[in-house]
Symmetry: C2
Subunit: 217 residues, 2 copies
DNA sequence: GTCTATAAAGAGATAGAC
DNA sequence: GTCTATCTCTTTATAGAC
C-alpha cells in the first residue's frame, strides 16, 4: 500500500511518528512525554528520532495544524452536502464529533496541549480554529435569520454552548466504553438540537430522533 | 482576619501554597510547573517549599480532594433549598458553574491534571467525583419519573451531555472576558433546560428566561 | 521558617561511526 | 536510517546552617 497523502496513514516513519506522538501526548500530556518514551514506542533509540523531526515542539505543532486543517475540510464538505439549513447544523455536529473521536489522539492533543507551543505558533493554530468556528456560527446565523432556531441567545453563545457539549467528550469517550461512537453522536446531537430550538415551541421537525442516517460499523 | 477553615482563604502559607500551585497548574499544567516557579510565585527559595509540603504530587492531590469536596457540599446544599424538581436541576447547574468558575484554578486542575496522580490517589479522587455525579443523576431520574423532562435519553446520557456543556467552559472562560459569570450561567442554563425538555413539548414553564434570581456583582 | 549548597536523576538534543 | 556516547541543562528533593 502506498501513501496517498490524504490521511494520517502510517506508511512512513514521519507519519508514524506523529501518530505515536499524538497518542502519548494525549495519554501523558505533552510536557510529561519524553523523547525517550517516544523513541521506545517507535522501537528506535532516542537519537534516531532526530533524523525524522527537528524537535519535540515541531511534533506538537504538526499535530495541531494537521488535525485542525483536516477537520475543517471534512466538516465543510459534509455541511455543503446538506439539503436544508437545519440539516447543515446536524451535519456539522455529527461530522465534528465523528472526526474528533475517530482521530481522538490528535484532536485531544490539539485542543488540550496547545498552550505548550510558543506564542507565534499558538496564535497561528488559534487562527485556524477561529476560522473553523466561523463555519458553525454561519450555520447558526442563517438558522436564526430563517427563524428555525431560538433567537434569544446570540450566535456566539449558542456556538459556545454547542462546542462545550461536543468537545468535553474527548475527556471521557473511549472506543471500548459503554457508549459506541454512534450512540454518543446520536444522543449529543439530540441534546443539541433540543437546546437550540425556539423556546416554547415544539422541536423543528421532530429533531430529537431524526438524526441523519447512521454509519454502520 | 482569621482563618475560619471554611474556604480557600490564604491566611497561612500552606493555604497560599495550594492557591498559588493551582494557579500555576492550570496555566502551565502540572508537569510543566516547576517547584522553582512555585517558590518564586510565593516569594521564597525552592528549598523553603519543603517546610510546607511533602512533595509536588501532594499539592496536586490536596487541590483535587479539596475542590471536589467543596463543590459537592456547596451544590448539595443549594439543591436542598430548591422548591420543586425542576428547580433542583437549575440549582445544580447554576451552583456547579458558579463554584467551578469562581474557584477556577482548583477546579480546572482537578478536572484536567488528575492523570498525574498515581493510580491509588487518582482512583480515590475519581470515587469522590462519581459520588458527586450521582447528585445530578438523582435529580434527572426524579424528573423523568415525574415526566418533567424527556425520557428518550437515559439519565446517564443526559448527565454526560450536561456535564459536557458545563465543564468545557473552564477552557475558555475568563473573568475579564466578553461574557460575565452571570451571563455564562444564564445562557448555559437556558441551553441545558431546553436540551432536557420532552421533545415536541413546549418548555416546562418557560424555562429559558426564568433562571433563578441572579446575584448582583 | 527560610536560607545556601548540592545531590541524584532525567530532560532535549548533538556528534560522528556504521 | 539507526546506533553509541555524551553534552548541557533542568528537575525534584535533601542536608544542615542560621
Amino acid at each position: 500500500m502506498v501513501s496517498n497523502g490524504a490521511g494520517p496513514d502510517n506508511a512512513n516513519t514521519a507519519d508514524r511518528l506523529l501518530t505515536v506522538a499524538a497518542h502519548l501526548f494525549r495519554e501523558k500530556g505533552y510536557a510529561a512525554t519524553t523523547t525517550r518514551e517516544l523513541a521506545a514506542a517507535l522501537g528506535v533509540k532516542s537519537a534516531s528520532l532526530y533524523y525524522h523531526m527537528r524537535s519535540k515542539e515541531d511534533l506538537l505543532y504538526d499535530i495541531c495544524v494537521d488535525s485542525i486543517q483536516r477537520i475543517d475540510a471534512e466538516v465543510r464538505a459534509k455541511v455543503a452536502e446538506a439539503t436544508d439549513p437545519l440539516d447543515e447544523l446536524r451535519a456539522f455536529v455529527t461530522t465534528h464529533l465523528r472526526v474528533v473521536l475517530m482521530d481522538h489522539d490528535r484532536h485531544a492533543t490539539m485542543l488540550l496541549e496547545l498552550r505548550f507551543l510558543p506564542e507565534d505558533r499558538r496564535r497561528e493554530v488559534l487562527e485556524l480554529r477561529k476560522s473553523y468556528v466561523r463555519v458553525a456560527r454561519q450555520i447558526l446565523q442563517n438558522l436564526q435569520e430563517k427563524e428555525l432556531i431560538r433567537r434569544d441567545l446570540t450566535t456566539t453563545n449558542l456556538s459556545l454552548a454547542i462546542f462545550n457539549t461536543l468537545n468535553w467528550t474527548i475527556l471521557w469517550y473511549h472506543p471500548d466504553g459503554a457508549s459506541s461512537l454512534d450512540d454518543v453522536i446520536e444522543f449529543l446531537l439530540s441534546f443539541i438540537m433540543a437546546g437550540v430550538q425556539t423556546p416554547g415551541t415544539p422541536m423543528p421537525d421532530g429533531a430529537a430522533m431524526t438524526a441523519r442516517p447512521r454509519r454502520r460499523k
